[in-house]
């Protein structure tokens, strides 16, 4: 093996190049962030940043990044930097880059040079083929940098020369007149370029080869995860920002400033007035609110959970612990999975056709509760069953060997051990049913913008009677509203213009925000409960 390149465990000092490569990755990541931000209208494409027009700034940065990446490739190829590249960048990269250059070639040929279909396809094949060869044939350090770098420079120049500028519109020319404007396409293109560039420079940072691939993949996975979280966060932030003004409209503090409430026989006045959550919609209100819908949603969820959880857990106990595993349990399993996937409007129709006529022949809170309870049932069965199957058989054996009966074992060992899993299922289910509109529309909804006087008072509505069933609660049999339904009617039916809601747009967003808050509160309660049960099961 004379003449073989000596490889040492400690690589030569490459800290300078690594620092530059890390810098490029950093700038690319910032660019990625900027493009995400402008996609969500947090930044504007047309506004300048520090005096420089946004598009020009993006173009400059992309050009520089592209040149940097090309520099890494050439530096490595001609031995200025010690790297460990493989003979080729690989098939996946080659196919991906040829795809990109196919599109670039095609676009330039058809848009800039006005070639016809035959012409642009030919050009696209040439550029795509060149990119494929350019990626696959040379050593990895050239193959995975050059096509990317040139692409970034190309996009940068396009931005700089204003071929794609702030007022550019891409008319798709379809019948619906779909078009992408610059506000959307520039961030998307920038995000795509910066992803490619950061991948290529991460590979350079790792010195290509196995380690380079590892670093490159790591970066992509990381950016992917981060951007998913960022998108979710932006979604919530969007709702919060839009909703806050309407939510706190007319909030005042002071003893006795709030409305009087009677709870469990005590009457007291709230020390603050928060019209949006304390009022309904009425002509005489200064500020209108959604109190009936909030209360309706809360009772709806409580009712559905109270109905579905005992039934669902009981069914799960039966099919997991008592029924023999076989055809029957399989059928039940498939059926419950199917039920969980059933569209909610079908449940709503069932509620309308079956429950409503039997519960006072009118839409009612109770009908809504039961309908949503039926929707929740399959998920409770599925997750409870999974949780019970996950309880080790050793516990059951240990209990049986102590002479403890099956039912006592289930109650004292199996159920406590599966409670966290059951609660997880309930959390997921509540998240879904709390936002359901269709079943509520069909089984429960009353007026689209109910006044405060239509708030259900489930606790106060209970009374004892002298004839079976000895309790009555007319409140349960009243139609009421819920937040998703109210939101739906505010948006689609144009409700509100006639009802003295001053700023309908604000009102909608505030309603959406309240719905989010209510669902997240249930979620928090669920998480806390699960944490409590889990703590009891674990040593700590």
């Amino acid at each position: 093996m004379a003449g073989a390149v000596e490889s040492s465990l400690v690589s030569e000092d490459t800290s300078g190049t690594e620092a530059v490569a890390a810098g490029v990755v950093g700038i690319a990541a910032i660019l990625f962030g900027i493009s995400l931000g402008s996609m969500f209208e947090l930044l504007s494409i047309t506004d300048p940043i520090a005096g420089i027009p946004m598009v020009a700034l993006l173009g400059t940065l992309l050009t520089l990044l592209g040149l940097g990446v090309i520099g890494f490739g050439l530096g490595s190829r001609f031995g200025y930097v010690a790297t460990d590249p493989r003979p080729s960048a690989g098939l996946v990269a080659s196919v991906a880059f040829s795809g990109i250059w196919f599109a670039v070639g095609g676009l330039v040929a058809s848009q800039s040079f006005g070639l016809g279909t035959v012409g642009w396809v030919a050009v696209a094949f040439v550029t795509g083929g060149l990119a494929f060869a350019g990626t696959a044939l040379p050593r990895e350090d050239i193959g995975s940098t050059l096509p990317v770098g040139v692409f970034a420079v190309f996009v940068g120049v396009v931005f700089l020369t204003g071929v794609i500028g702030p007022s550019w519109v891409w008319d798709l020319g379809w019948e619906q007149q779909a078009s992408f404007n610059a506000e959307f396409s520039i961030p998307v293109i920038t995000a795509f370029c910066s992803l490619l560039v950061s991948w290529a420079s991460a590979k350079a940072y790792g010195g290509f080869g196995a380690r380079g691939r590892h670093v490159g993949a790591y970066l992509l996975v990381y950016l992917n995860a981060l951007s998913i979280i960022a998108v979710l966060f932006l979604l919530v932030a969007f709702t919060v920002f839009k909703g806050l003004p309407g939510l706190f409209n007319g909030l005042t503090f002071g003893l006795g400033s709030g409305p009087e409430t009677t709870l469990f026989g005590f009457t007291f006045a709230w020390p603050f007035a928060w019209p949006f959550v304390m009022n309904g919609v009425a002509l005489l209100n200064d500020v209108n609110g959604v109190l009936p819908a909030i209360v309706g949603t809360i009772w709806l969820v409580i009712g559905a959970v109270v109905f579905a959880v005992p039934l669902g857990v009981g069914a799960a106990v039966f099919i997991t612990e008592y029924a023999d595993r076989g055809r029957f349990t399989q059928v039940v399993e498939v059926a419950t999975n199917g039920l969980w996937s059933t569209p909610s409007i079908v449940f709503g129709l069932f509620g309308l056709a079956f429950l409503v006529p039997r519960l006072g022949n009118g839409k009612s809170l109770l009908a809504g509760m039961l309908t949503l309870g039926f929707m929740l049932l399959p998920l409770v069965v599925i997750t409870s069953r999974e949780a019970m199957l996950a309880v080790p058989d050793e516990y059951r054996d240990a209990s049986a060997a102590l002479g403890v009966t099956k039912w006592q074992t289930i109650r004292s060992v199996v159920l406590p051990a599966s409670l966290p899993g059951i609660v997880t299922g309930i959390i997921l289910g509540v998240g879904r049913i709390a936002g359901e509109t269709a079943p509520i529309l069909l089984t429960m909804s009353g007026s689209v913008a109910p006044p405060g006087s239509q708030t259900v008072d489930v606790i106060g509505g209970f009374s004892f009677t002298s004839s079976p069933p000895f309790v009555s609660n007319p409140e349960l049999l009243q139609a009421t509203s819920a937040l998703p339904y109210q939101l739906y009617s505010l948006i689609t039916a144009g409700v509100g213009q006639s009802s003295n809601i001053a700023n309908i747009e604000q009102f909608r967003w505030a309603t959406a925000l309240i719905l989010l808050v209510v669902v997240l509160s249930f979620y928090a309660v669920g998480i806390a409960t699960r944490y409590y049960f889990r703590r009891k099961l674990q040593h700590e």
Partner: protein, 304 residues
């Protein structure tokens, strides 16, 4: 009966091994010898002609033996020879395996446990069991120990009994201390009885399981390789414990470790592949001068 002998015969022909038990008749004699074996104390269990099938798999073949009271009986043999199966017959844990079918008779203190109307709760209270891998419940140490008696209704705890002034908290404390002391665990856990049992080490968990079994005040303790998942120090603790327990309890212990069997047991039963009980007698005699060639081979490590 004839069926069992038939099977043995076939087995013999096939394996062509010099068997201690060759034909039905010889077998009868040997079994009688064992049955009349002069143990110092009286028989706790008498097992006769026990056959166990898992579906078509004949896992135990015509096993007969008497297990004397207040002593340690070791069951040894290569894995898969039916030791656990035999042990599970003694407290009818095999009933929990739907594929298992049991033929034959097992008497506990002269009472048949495989007959209609046997109260499994009562049987398993009298015959406790410890499993191969420690399996404490994910509950506090105290709750683990008091689990059996509370579920049997022997001890009342909890909100309602507190309310009615019938709570047996003191008795529970007493029981917990007594059981843990018996299992030589009290000193190590006395100040963390309310911690979760899963926080204990493997050896401590196994002793907790022994304490949990002792808490229901059994007469017999069945142990299925109780030390096989433990390190040498924890193992020797369990062995010492088994030795002490044999003063008050009848212990039946499965092990595949022959040194362990030789150290701790008074009687040894050797099962060999195919689910037969090949030899049973005083531990000293089995290890020093086995009658069967197969047993000698097994003990000296020639096969198994």
């Amino acid at each position: 009966m004839s069926k069992t002998s038939q099977t043995t015969e076939d087995e013999t022909k096939r394996t062509d091994q010099p068997l201690e038990v060759t034909a039905g008749e010889t077998r009868e004699q040997t079994q009688d010898e064992w049955t009349d074996y002069d143990f110092e104390s009286q028989a706790k269990f008498s097992v006769e002609d026990l056959d166990v099938y898992y579906g078509d798999d004949h896992a135990l073949k015509g096993v007969s033996m008497e297990i004397p009271e207040n002593s340690v009986t070791a069951l040894i043999g290569p894995s898969g020879c039916g030791k656990s199966t035999f042990l599970r017959c003694l407290n009818r844990m095999n009933d929990r395996i739907s594929a298992a079918r049991i033929d034959g008779s097992v008497e506990l203190d002269g009472e048949e446990i495989y007959q209609d109307g046997v109260n499994l709760v009562e049987l398993r209270k009298r015959v406790g069991m410890v499993f191969q891998s420690p399996n404490p419940f994910p509950k506090s140490i105290r709750d683990n120990i008091s689990y059996g008696p509370r579920k049997h209704g022997d001890l009342e705890t909890g909100f309602l009994s507190n309310l009615l002034g019938r709570s047996d908290e003191d008795e529970v404390d007493e029981l917990v201390e007594r059981s843990l002391s018996q299992a030589a665990l009290w000193d190590e856990v006395e100040d963390r009885l309310d911690d979760n049992a899963l926080g204990l080490s493997g050896g401590q968990q196994q002793r907790l399981c022994i304490a949990r079994a002792l808490a229901t005040d059994p007469e017999v303790l069945l142990m299925d390789e109780p030390a096989s998942a433990l390190d040498p120090i924890a193992t020797s603790k369990i062995e010492d414990l088994v030795h002490e327990l044999s003063e008050d309890y009848t212990v039946v212990i499965v092990t595949h470790n022959m040194q362990q069997a030789a150290r701790i047991s008074d009687q040894t039963a050797v099962f060999l592949t195919g689910g037969e009980l090949v030899e049973y007698g005083d531990t000293d005699q089995i290890f020093e001068d086995p009658e069967s060639q197969r047993v000698e081979d097994y003990i000296s490590g020639k096969f198994g």
